[in-house]
């Protein structure tokens, strides 16, 4: 009972701290939104284009890119302006069309189209998108050039033949499916991927930030004074753990409920998702408790906390999908509780898993939680009773 009160007081302290309104409630929401915008679907990436001069091919390529709904095309006056826009981040990639494309291809040469992109992830993806759109337009041209060499006929006439045939061709269709299933499940919602990653990141961040409250409690001698009342050491330790746990849980429930309501994020089986959140909060509570008992300087703890929370999240695949890690990095990722929690959420959403399916992930998280809480309880006992 006393332990529960200590826990509740701790959660209240967290909620009353005004800066936490920002860090716990506003900031995670902003990040989910921002990541959704960055990597999501419906906010189309902007591609800049400059043309060296007017011509049939030029307008065909511009038209093809304009028709593509997955990108937004913006025209610039010169190639320098496109390059500057890419450098400054106004557009994500740029296409630089040369002058006299029509005469170049008519004389049998290939045209050199420039491409510039930002060094972040989307560059390669956009390049293949642009390349396939241009390839579509240039296909009859290439065919005509080929036929001209073979037959020696006039380029313009051959091009007309090629364009006539091109309309009736059947390309190879690429079909994607998952093992044992007819179709690959539709891509996750725009916010789905971001939401579980952000949940894992912020639950841990908030739990580690909670360590400074514990340090303050110790610094001010509150724990020692509690010992002089009929409160057992056990109650203090359990209570402080409950406080950290409650803080992490509040953060997690907030993100889960909010993303569910605002963005209709699919969290899968509710029981399973809740269990993962509870287990993850317990791991976070253990880590926060451990830091709170080992450090005696809350500024040091805050610095280490931010570093650990962001570093582990990155390593655990909460910032970049772990499936793209190298095998070594994937093993490293699974040293973090983050990776296990994310695996659990993925199992629930992608495979429509239930609680039974995520037992391994829950088990690993439970081991982490028990280990960290046990270690932390021991250190806290030492820290409080040390003269």
């Amino acid at each position: 009972m006393r332990a529960l009160h200590i826990g509740i007081i701790n959660v209240k302290r967290m909620l009353r701290e005004r800066s936490n309104i920002f860090f716990v409630f506003i900031f995670p929401l902003a990040i989910v939104l921002l990541v959704g915008i960055q990597f999501g679907g419906s906010f189309a990436p902007v591609i800049g284009i400059s043309v060296g001069g007017e011509g049939e091919l030029t307008s065909a390529i511009v038209g093809a890119l304009e028709e593509d709904d997955s990108i937004e095309l913006r025209r610039f006056e010169s190639s320098d302006e496109v390059v500057t826009a890419v450098e400054r981040g106004g557009v994500q990639a740029g296409v630089l069309l040369p002058a006299d494309m029509d005469t170049t291809v008519a004389s049998g040469n290939s045209v050199e189209i420039g491409y510039v992109s930002r060094p972040d992830g989307a560059g390669a993806q956009l390049q293949s998108l642009v390349a396939s759109a241009i390839a579509e337009v240039m296909r009859p041209v290439g065919a005509a050039q080929f036929a001209v060499v073979e037959t020696g006929e006039d380029f313009d006439e051959t091009l007309q033949v090629a364009e006539g045939i091109a309309e009736g061709t059947e390309p190879i269709v690429v079909e994607v499916s998952a093992v044992g299933e007819a179709l690959f499940p539709a891509t996750l919602g725009r916010f789905d991927l971001g939401a579980s990653s952000q949940l894992v990141l912020f639950v841990f961040l908030t739990a580690l930030a909670g360590s400074s409250a514990l340090i303050l409690t110790r610094q001010l001698g509150i724990s020692q004074r509690m010992l002089s009342t009929p409160t057992s050491m056990r109650a203090i330790i359990v209570g402080e753990s409950l406080g950290r746990f409650g803080t992490a849980l509040v953060q997690g429930v907030y993100i889960m409920v909010l993303t569910l309501i605002m963005f209709q994020v699919n969290w899968g089986d509710p029981v399973g998702a809740t269990l993962i959140l509870v287990a993850l909060s317990a791991v976070g509570a253990g880590a926060g408790m451990l830091m709170g008992s080992v450090f005696s300087n809350d500024q040091q703890a805050a610095g280490i906390g931010v570093m650990l929370a962001l570093g582990l999240a990155a390593l655990g695949g909460a910032m970049f999908p772990a499936e793209l890690f190298s095998p070594t990095m994937q093993r490293v990722a699974h040293v973090t509780p983050h990776a296990w929690a994310l695996d659990g959420f993925a199992e629930l959403v992608r495979r429509d898993g239930n609680t039974l399916d995520i037992l391994p992930e829950l088990g690993v998280l439970a081991v982490y939680a028990i280990g960290l809480l046990g270690l932390a309880s021991w250190r806290l006992r030492v820290a409080i009773t040390r003269p």
Binding site: E150, E175, V176, Q300, I304
Partner: protein
């Protein structure tokens, strides 16, 4: 002024012994830059992404061999690995064993369908837990399909012009390889010629700028700590001009920021091959950046009452400016309002200045960005100075 330096020196000693400034100013940004570079760096280059694919070729034709050689080409460039399986069952179980992320299945009759201009299919079967790798596999196949379509059209056009039917014999009679028909254009990636930071430098610079705003807080917030602890009243009773007290804390902030930035620039250059650019230009940006951080955090200290309040508001502002300034991920690329908002932060100008210095630009390339950062420093610094002076002399 002597008093100001003595106060700064005393506080510096305290901060060095306390180690918090070391953790926030050097350790945290360095460790995080390392981790981010290790994880995101491979995404930027497109190699070492751990893409493991399988190939089941039931067609055993020239077309399917061409596809296999496309994959092998990508394998030799370290983009992916490809394992050939005799039958689908083996590939299916390889996915089950997590040996591969996805496999390509080329059904028999693909080549015939291509020659006869009938519809045909390449199947991608992916691991449900590797949706991104599977998507990448699909885009490989689509690129190939686009190439085949070009070759197909080239053959058909030639046949159309000469009036002969498309048969294997006709294809053999051609003097060129139809695959070249897709090469009527080259999409050349010229991103290397643009002035942008490479991944390592970006993460190093982003983290350094982000944590700089926390590091300088140790200095300016000291004034509020002295106020809380009652030592400020005693200092004010001493024969020291009151303004020296503010100057002392500002100097400490500046020194802490400068030392942390210098260590980070040197350490990331040596340890993770970050290329910051012309030293003089970098120095200008760093000095301007540290001054801006001191100004902004000084202003925060001036408008808050307690060191805790200043710490909290300071962290909020540092996090907002850092995010908006694109220190974690480039914000400008999202387009719209955000790409304009990013330039209300000194962080964005700092990163832009470094980008301007890239590809061996002279140090003067950093001048516009350094000037913009100095604007932040002067405006916020002056405001902070006026507010703090009023607070001390009242």
């Amino acid at each position: 002024m002597g008093a100001a330096f003595r106060i700064a020196a005393k506080d510096l000693k305290l901060r060095v012994r306390d180690r918090s400034a070391f953790i926030l100013g050097i350790l945290a940004p360095l460790v995080l830059a390392f981790i981010f570079d290790a994880i995101f760096g491979s995404a930027a280059t497109g190699t070492g992404l751990g893409l493991d694919y399988g190939l089941v070729d039931d067609d055993q034709s020239q077309v399917s061999a061409a596809f296999a050689s496309v994959l092998e080409g990508a394998e030799s460039e370290d983009i992916l690995t490809v394992e050939v399986y005799d039958e689908r069952a083996a590939a299916d179980s390889a996915i089950g064993d997590d040996d591969i992320d996805a496999y390509f299945f080329i059904p028999s009759g693909l080549e015939q369908a291509v020659f006869a201009n009938r519809s045909s299919t390449i199947e991608i079967v992916g691991d449900i837990d590797s949706p991104t790798s599977t998507q990448i596999a699909a885009s490989f196949a689509e690129q190939f399909s686009s190439g085949v379509a070009s070759a197909q059209l080239a053959v058909a056009t030639t046949a159309g012009v000469t009036g002969s039917p498309v048969t294997p014999d006709f294809v053999d009679s051609l003097s060129q390889d139809p695959a070249i028909a897709g090469r009527s254009f080259d999409l050349t990636d010229r991103s290397a010629e643009t002035k942008q930071l490479d991944a390592s430098t970006y993460f190093a610079a982003g983290m350094a700028a982000f944590f700089l705003f926390f590091t300088v807080q140790f200095g300016v917030n000291g004034l509020l700590e002295e106020e809380r602890d009652g030592t400020l009243a005693r200092l004010m009773a001493a024969p020291i001009p009151r303004i020296s007290l503010v100057a002392g804390k500002a100097i400490l902030s500046f020194v802490l920021g400068l030392v942390s930035m210098t260590v980070l620039v040197v350490a990331t250059s040596l340890l993770m091959d970050a290329s910051w650019g012309a030293p003089l230009g970098v120095a200008l940006l760093v000095v301007a950046g540290v001054l801006a951080a001191v100004g902004i955090m000084g202003l925060v200290a001036a408008i808050t009452k307690t060191p805790e309040g200043a710490g909290n508001l300071g962290s909020i502002i540092a996090v907002i400016l850092g995010m908006l300034g694109g220190t974690f991920f480039p914000i400008g690329a999202t387009g719209g309002v955000l790409s304009a908002l990013t330039y209300i932060t000194p962080h964005a100008w700092f990163l832009r200045g470094l980008a301007d210095l890239s590809s061996d630009a002279p140090w003067t390339a950093a001048l516009p960005a350094a000037g913009a950062i100095m604007m932040f420093a002067v405006v916020t610094g002056l405001l902070a100075w006026l507010l703090l002076r009023r607070r001390l002399t009242r």
